[in-house]
Symmetry: C2
Subunit: 360 residues, 2 copies
Amino acid sequence: MSQDRARRPTLDTVAREVGVSRATVSNAYNRPDQLSPQLRERIIATARKLGYAGPDPVARSLATQRSGSVAFMLCEGLSSAFSDLALCIMLDALASTVDSGDRSLLLLPGIGDGGPRAESVIRAQTDVVVAYSLPDDAPALRAAQERKLPLVIVDQPVVPGSARVQVDDYGGALLAGRHLVELGHQRVAVLGLSLSANGQGGLATPARLREAHFRVTLDRYAGYLEGLAEGGIVAEQVPLWEAPGNTREFGREGTTWLLTQHPRPTAVLCMSDELALGALRAADELGLAVPGEVSIVGFDDTPAASWGTPSLTTVRQDLVEKGRQAGTLALRMLDGSRPGKPVTVGVELQVRASTGPAPR
Amino acid sequence: MSQDRARRPTLDTVAREVGVSRATVSNAYNRPDQLSPQLRERIIATARKLGYAGPDPVARSLATQRSGSVAFMLCEGLSSAFSDLALCIMLDALASTVDSGDRSLLLLPGIGDGGPRAESVIRAQTDVVVAYSLPDDAPALRAAQERKLPLVIVDQPVVPGSARVQVDDYGGALLAGRHLVELGHQRVAVLGLSLSANGQGGLATPARLREAHFRVTLDRYAGYLEGLAEGGIVAEQVPLWEAPGNTREFGREGTTWLLTQHPRPTAVLCMSDELALGALRAADELGLAVPGEVSIVGFDDTPAASWGTPSLTTVRQDLVEKGRQAGTLALRMLDGSRPGKPVTVGVELQVRASTGPAPR
DNA sequence: AGCGGTGTCTGAAGCGCTTCAGTTACCCTC
DNA sequence: GAGGGTAACTGAAGCGCTTCAGACACCGCT
């Protein structure tokens, strides 16, 4: 009989103790208007006495058919992801939006550079998935589709049937390119982010460019070229150095190479602020004045951008807005809404002290 | 009859289609050795055909009584948390450990500075909670205890019945203090982290110190004093400036104040690298040479510490180890292990270029 | 021939909760 | 005082899965 030993209390335990039905106890927690305040009071008190902390989340999820959490898949591991301040800011906005909708964030970090394992996604207790900047062929993406989970894509990649929020990468890059043209630059180099998820780096060949997977990189590159074209600069004259990761160190490495070419570029367009900060350092090490001898442009406008010396001219995207939109979209998908049009977050050029007129 | 319209397939659907029992289909996924390979093959194939992506995670959790995720509670929102590189590195190690144990990370960011809302914890689908540097009286903590969830505490606070991993804050600070003494410093100031979770800042009064909540801050302070005591410096001569948050800007602000006092300290012990980086900047702005006129010591040894000019002398803690330990502890708690002794992660002093002999 | 062992598969009892269609009891109204 | 409305509560049917104690057939052994 009494084998209900250290068993933790359930709805039933409480119901029995109070002498009401299970349904009533459930209502006490979920629909206070369905019972008299006194009874509710009594139920809650008894629950506390028995050490019952409220309906079990898992069981409740099963019954309601909603898990109450939003899964966030990202490309890399947490440490590289979180050193990406832009991602952090966005993620925070996402988390707040999602949390205020009474859901929590399930984090699915990537393994290597290819996103989370399919298995993690298969087993994830979630009812909507947000993917951030994943390679097109990420297994996690397929897994999510197999499970028919509503999908929200941020930036990358394009997946039919999913909601998406994206930054106007092309437009932002165009602004940056145009800015340099207006300053009279003629020899410009691009310091880019990864083209594909294999950690490769170095000067990007046309072949490499053709088989690229990351839309963000491609769009920004296209935008740069378009902006520069307004000054009569043609693509062939614009070297693209591919940084294997978004870190200062890679930025410095790439820039060191770019600035030791002949003829030396008078400006470097960097696809992130981190890269640009590394570029600044490289220029410094080479004894080149910024912006006197070389101009540097970033992308993202993270707080660090304004901290550097000189402060960084950069393309700002509204990261908070981006996260919020992604969250809203996710929440909306949960209500069964159709994906709808992609949401585009705007950009603007923040001109600061790292760019100036072309030398000579 | 046929109201099973757009209903998504379940174990049952597959079982019926194949003509076997539900148990067998379940085994096909969870215990391949329990059925013949051919049958398993057939089941998997049929499942795929029906668009069945495997056992529903929530239902499975209910049946197995384990949710498969580890909740991570932190004090602040994500954006401030993630600009804390030390946290990120640790979190990454934690995530990897946990993920390799086939579990995912449920993130419960804080609201304001007091940790997650109790409600978020109550509703979280998790079977173990890791708390990072929360105030002693965080509602989330109580909620976790109410649910009787196994608890792993990182750094802070001390909660009976929970596992914990902590850094030897005291020992690290002692090393830092002793280092300055050995360099001959006599007038030393401390730039500290928050004492309590209310965003207050400024010169810490004895009263403020007495009602402090954050162990980390207190331990480090005690360690500093102990180290300095070896040089005959007494506590009363060591001003403690409390930074309201762990940012460079606050570090700069505090240091500016400290370095404009008379007599001016010849060294500043900072409780984090971020603060120290701000301190560096403050010294620079005041036209004080580092380490010629003032020495700066950090804490944490984040990558940024070695990047700065001059590179930072700092106390290194093994963040990866810390995360890994926390993860291991969490996983172990799941198997019903008792908390056991606190795990302490070691520290060592990284002497770099920001400290030197006391001037004169 | 008889028997224990083994490899496969099944039935049914949960896991802890929500929810919906009732059922009472009570009050108001004409 | 019958009819209707409402507030308060209940019963039972799920939600989709796991698991454990069998059941059954077949094998090799003695």
